[in-house]
């Protein structure tokens, strides 16, 4: 059965995040009271997700290399997106990411005080990925770069849980993408199944988001339908995990979100990056 491989140091899995860095990412995201820009919302979400993945892989005094992770930005250019010491590198073992944030911000958050109230607590917020917004939307090129990177990776990790590619965009591709490049990318596979591609369209408009749909019936245009059809069906394991949190996905549910706001973006990333059998 596909998508059942155990994720271990001997057989790690991989994530690639493709981040739209076109000029329109300067606009405010839907669902943000402070008018937060889309590029800032996405970089915050990616940094938070990297943080969560590192904590998930932390054991004792170190981090176990259960994942290789790559961030690719596409806009004025298509390039690996890490900042600081990791700049220019594509797939990086999670322990290297843990030990090399570009910088660490101090932020505040509300936490329970244990007596029914909340207190403000300072927390460290490591940054690996900075917001960028300039140029067009060469999504096809970004998918091709992911394909190129993963082609070698699946060859070196034939028994691994298949890599997951998460593409976050706010608009239409300005090159020939995404359908042919997405199809080529998802033809790569390990013995445990094909590469998974999840697409997330983020929004400026305060319209109702459609997240993890099981048909294209409610999607408003051909671009959304193209992205929906190029997204992978959610494997059983991910659907079961989502079901445990009262999210009832059907067997035709695809890893796709349309018009996602900040909350939906984070939820999408959270569900999309879970694997049930991390050991």
């Amino acid at each position: 059965m596909a998508y059942t491989a155990e994720i271990s140091r001997a057989n790690p899995s991989a994530f690639i995040f493709l981040i739209d860095q076109s000029g329109s990412m300067l606009e405010p995201i839907a669902g943000s009271a402070e008018g937060k820009r889309k590029c800032d919302s996405v970089s915050d979400a990616i940094n938070r997700l990297l943080h969560n993945l590192i904590i998930k892989c932390a054991r004792g005094e170190g981090v176990r290399n259960f994942y290789d992770v790559c961030v690719i930005g596409y806009g004025a250019q298509v390039v690996p997106g890490f900042s600081g010491k990791l700049a220019g590198r594509d797939l990086v073992p999670i322990s290297d990411i843990a030990n090399a944030p570009a910088r660490v911000e101090e932020r505040t958050r509300q936490v329970e005080d244990g007596q029914g109230g909340t207190v403000t607590q300072k927390v460290k917020f490591p940054i690996w990925f900075e917001p960028v917004a300039k140029g067009t939307t060469p999504m096809g090129q970004a998918l091709s770069m992911a394909h190129h990177i993963l082609e070698g990776w699946v060859g070196r990790h034939p028994n691994s849980y298949p890599p997951i590619v998460i593409n976050i965009t706010d608009g239409e591709a300005t090159d020939s993408g995404p359908a042919p490049q997405a199809e080529a990318l998802c033809s790569l596979c390990t013995n445990d199944g094909p590469v998974l591609l999840f697409n997330c369209h983020i929004s400026t408009k305060p319209l109702e988001p459609i997240v993890f749909p099981d048909s294209d019936d409610d999607l408003p245009d051909s671009f959304a339908r193209t992205l929906y059809h190029s997204s992978s069906l959610l494997p059983d394991g991910l659907r079961d995990l989502a079901r445990a949190e009262n999210l009832d996905f059907g067997t035709e549910t695809r890893g796709f979100a349309f018009n996602a706001d900040l909350v939906e973006l984070i939820r999408f990333l959270d569900i999309g990056t879970r694997a049930s059998n991390l050991r």
Partner: protein, 256 residues
Amino acid sequence: MQPSAKAFWVPKAGNSVEEYEDASAHSDHRFAIADGATESSFSERWAQELVKQFVVQPPEHIRNSKIPLKEWLDPLQKQWHASIPWQRLPWYAEEKARNGAFTSFLGVEITPAPSRFRLFDLFRRRKGTQWHAFTVGDSCFFQVRNDAVLKSFPFDKSEQFNNRPLLISSNPSRNKSVWKHIKQTEGACDVGDLFLLMTDALALWFMKENEAGRKPWKTLLEINTDKAFANFVETMRKSSALRNDDTTLLICHWKD
């Protein structure tokens, strides 16, 4: 009657012996097993603390309906916290450790019957000896008598296992939902009884084998050395009969 107990364990394949996160301990009348959660940090020392303390001093009033586990855990949680090298931990290890370590726990205590029956018990070869078990999580206890499973605890059927058992945390604030999920049970001991304590992977195999009518305790009784146990586990893992996980067995034969 005297119990004769022996523990066997092997780490998950691919992990080193230092990365083994189960724990077991026993005295002549107390037996404990724990399964430190792989997803938490420093869970091996948390699991060890619990089983060792149970053997030395189990929670008071263990046979009452409400085990005062919170008070029992309090000094152990402080001990765990003091054992963590906070000063030298990198940011991620510190954050992970602050979440707390988690473990399943199962403890069994064998006690003589109440004193007013003791004389009677002597005449009846102390048939009044009782066992009492309590657990949080998915470590399991089986009592085998007359070539059949007499008691299976806390699960009756293999399908009752799930991937998200409730576990005891070293972080007091993470235990709020634990108290109402403590399970306990008791029964009588008899000569020839076999008591088996197992962490989840082996327990799941045991229950499936038993459900298929294959008397898995016979296989386990033939194991006498650590090497034999390691070979058994490796064979079972290769045939996918046993999930690749830390695997621990505490076996106690109640002999005359």
